[in-house]
């Protein structure tokens, strides 16, 4: 089925009015994942932008049409491991067990439980919407924040300007856990995203499925809310965020980028990069080149075999 037909036939599982910012990449990812997952789903949304926007509800009301829980910032994958075991044990493997977590809950303090669940092959689809920082609490840096970014804990000071360390490239680390499925996606590449959600849900019936979604944040990154999709598109075209997947058959590069745009075109117009030094820009370019080369090489191993 065409991705638009899928969306037309998939009701929204989330409250229609949540307080995610205008143009929020995370809200778009959340709604699409749960539309595809459908009613027979239990979702965990740890503290972060999405939980903060009200999708878990308020007092005695729920923010979703499906069962939802806000686990701890650092135990989403573990909490869902226990739940998943019980559903399998009672013969209800058809219930989708899904996490929608930010980069802090996935790559920083939640990384240990995420890594443990992936290594054990727990049956779930874990989606990380990566907006490169703790945007819900005021844009503090995380391990996935791009080098040179202005955040509230890496301000543009006279001595240190922006984040001083390169970004941790989490999806490649996750791909080395022997998971049933591991992929990257962006909201700009919507048919690819929808296909990967479907594939991830199917893989979650046999093991751990991980989807790392680049999620631009207009408020925290300082760009106009109508540019969210364009920012994500340029992340792919500049190789800041290559699209790839690894399943039982091996590695696939989903967007073969023969003529990448320079990362200077990606950072253009994004406020958090407004004071990048030449050295920082060169370092970001190197990271993007290296990333694309690495996943291309992995995909070529597969093709040779």
């Amino acid at each position: 089925m065409n991705y638009l037909d899928i969306l037309k036939n998939s009701p929204d599982m989330v409250s229609p009015g949540i307080s995610a910012c205008q143009g929020c990449g995370g809200e778009l990812v959340l709604r699409r994942v749960l539309q595809v997952a459908g009613e027979n789903t239990i979702v965990a949304v740890p503290p972060g932008c999405m939980a903060g926007s009200g999708v878990v509800g308020w007092s005695h009301d729920s923010g979703m049409k499906i069962p939802v829980h806000i686990p701890l910032l650092d135990n989403t994958a573990s909490f869902l491991s226990g739940l998943s075991h019980i559903y399998r044990r009672s013969g209800r493997e058809d219930v989708n067990i899904v996490a929608i977590a930010g980069d802090g809950a996935s790559a920083d303090c939640g990384f240990q439980s995420l890594s443990g669940a992936a290594e054990r092959g727990e049956h779930m689809l874990y989606v990380c919407y990566d907006n490169e920082g703790y945007m819900n609490t005021g844009y503090q840096r995380s391990s996935t924040t791009t080098e040179g970014s202005r955040t509230s804990t890496t301000p543009l000071g006279r001595r240190f300007s922006g984040k001083q360390q390169p970004q941790k490239y989490v999806p490649l680390i996750m791909s080395m856990h022997g998971a049933a499925y591991c992929a990257t996606a962006t909201p700009a590449n919507m048919p690819d995203l929808i296909r990967k959600i479907q594939k991830g849900l199917a893989a979650s019936k046999t093991g751990f499925a991980y989807l790392h979604v680049f999620s631009p944040c207009p408020t925290g990154w300082s760009f106009a809310p109508d540019r969210t999709i364009e920012v994500a598109r340029r992340a792919v075209k500049s190789n800041m965020f290559p699209l790839w997947e690894r399943d039982g058959d091996g590695w696939t590069l989903n967007y073969v980028n023969e003529r990448p745009i320079p990362v200077s075109e990606f950072v253009e117009g994004i406020g958090k990069f407004s004071k990048l030094s030449e050295r920082q820009l060169a370092s970001i370019q190197r990271a993007a080149d290296e990333r694309y080369a690495a996943v291309s090489a992995l995909a070529s191993i597969q093709n040779r075999a």
Partner: protein
């Protein structure tokens, strides 16, 4: 029988819904004459405010639309324009 009220914190009374339509400074207006029903706007709308109706094609629901402008920016035909709420710009 022991009353389970206020034992485990749960939300099951109703749906928590914010009126996000009040956030809009600009509203997307779709020119049906230009629109070719490609559906790009529906795929990209973070709030699911672009809807589909059999017979009528795509349309914008203003109930919760936050006015982010993604649909207008991404429309390949330029069929959606952002118009100031409550009067001329």
């Amino acid at each position: 029988m022991y009353d389970r009220h206020f034992v485990t914190p749960v939300g099951n009374r109703g749906m928590y819904v914010l009126d996000t339509s009040s956030w809009r400074t600009h509203r997307p207006v779709m020119d049906k004459a230009t629109c070719v029903n490609c559906g790009i706007c529906m795929g990209y709308c973070p709030v699911n405010s672009v809807r589909w109706s059999e017979g009528g094609g795509y349309y914008i629901s203003y109930d919760y639309c936050k006015g982010c402008g993604i649909c207008a920016a991404e429309c390949p035909r330029g069929a959606i324009s952002m118009e100031r709420e409550g009067g001329e710009e």
